[in-house]
Subunit: 216 residues, 2 copies
DNA sequence: GATCATGAATACACCTGGTATAGTAATATT
DNA sequence: AATATTACTATACCAGGTGTATTCATGATC
């Protein structure tokens, strides 16, 4: 039987075990980020990371499903952010504005909330020369995109069916991603990259206006 | 010294060696497609495919860089198709129409030109339940998208800079892909999927009209 | 036609990502 | 204090992927 009703206050304080777990997790993330940054992604094996973090390779895979996943630890939070924005403004505000808000929030979060460990920046760097990372990140983006699309469809069931919602969100996210990568490959700095993402979002958001009238 | 001036006619006929190479390549593709279809992707090892095609595992990797790549053999042709469409209609026709033509050509090719081996259909099926396939396909799409964007930028240098081109193409491709997957996950048939892709493309193509005026 | 160079395929060893299993020790619950 | 969880370890294993030396058919040259 599962019972978790220890009344440690309103919010459940983690307890020593959970704290230690998060500690190893953080150690793995930071160690991985450091080694990937120093030696490159491919030149760093999971065994190296585990060794440097003083745990076994097995432990690494108890925390992360794949080697790439250690780079995606901040992904879920960003998706939750977007979903929260949608949940708050949802059916009252017009679709276009809600989607715009959500995307802008994610872009801003990527740019500003990244200072502590620089994970997004590192990920961007590694994406350029590691196909595996690129593929995994794209898949993560795609999954996130699908969740956002479902949330939007739920909020505007009369305007959006499942496929249309996916299409619209796909357009915006696709534009933002492609612009970001292009900007990165252009060698532009974080400032310019963010600007490129915002511009791409603004342009792609016009798809929303086109929802009713499809010529062709 | 390298000399390849055997005059076998205007077009270079392949010769026995090259033909045998292509033969093993085809055998690997067909065998892989069959086994993946029968047992599923993850349940089929590269060794299995090689064995069934009567070659060594090493030979498989001389033809394909990764296990996933054997599913992408028809990808390059589809990209070339789009580039050809762009190259033919390029700067004369308006950007919107050229992009529309290119995308429609790719969609049509996916739907109709797929009968011989059903590779696109198989790929779509396998994407749904194999993360590795999904990731690799997304990466392939992303790469293709970058090439198309570059071609467009070359054709309309005054309208498009690098980042904008990437954004526009990213929007259209992103919309089409997302719609296709959503439709597939909806359990819709090939007919409906194609229709979903066309609709998504039509909607996303409105981004092109928004190129001049960006109201943030 | 004999000879030589090329390159597709082989055989074999090896590394790394990822998993299964059984076990240990610290932590949480009663 | 006794018991149940559970993060972590140790170890062996599988599959994807690569390096290297070798074989052998093919294509070029004489």
């Amino acid at each position: 039987m599962i019972r978790m009703h220890y009344a440690r206050g309103v919010v459940e304080e983690p307890g020593r075990r959970e704290r230690k777990k998060q500690q190893t997790r953080r150690a793995l993330i930071e160690t991985a980020a450091r080694l990937f940054g120093e030696r490159g992604y491919d030149a760093t094996s999971v065994a190296d990371v585990a060794e440097a973090a003083d745990v076994t390779k097995r432990t690494f895979f108890l925390h992360f499903a794949t080697k790439e996943d250690v780079l995606l630890s901040d992904g879920p939070a960003r998706v939750e952010l977007a979903l929260r924005v949608i949940g708050e403004q949802a059916p009252q505000a017009p679709l276009r504005e809600v989607l715009a808000e959500a995307v802008h929030a994610m872009i801003a979060d990527t740019a500003s909330g990244d200072l502590p460990n620089g994970m997004a920046a590192l990920r961007a760097r590694l994406m350029v020369d590691s196909p595996a990372v690129q593929a995994r990140v794209l898949r993560a983006v795609f999954t996130a995109q699908a969740r956002i699309a479902e949330a939007l469809r739920g909020a505007y069931p009369e305007t959006l069916d499942r496929v249309t919602a996916a299409g619209v969100v796909g357009a915006v996210v696709g534009a933002v991603c492609a612009a970001a990568i292009a900007s990165l490959e252009n060698g532009e700095g974080p400032e310019a990259v963010s600007e490129a993402m915002r511009r791409a979002a603004a342009i792609a958001l016009h798809t929303v206006d086109a929802l009713g009238a499809e010529s062709d």
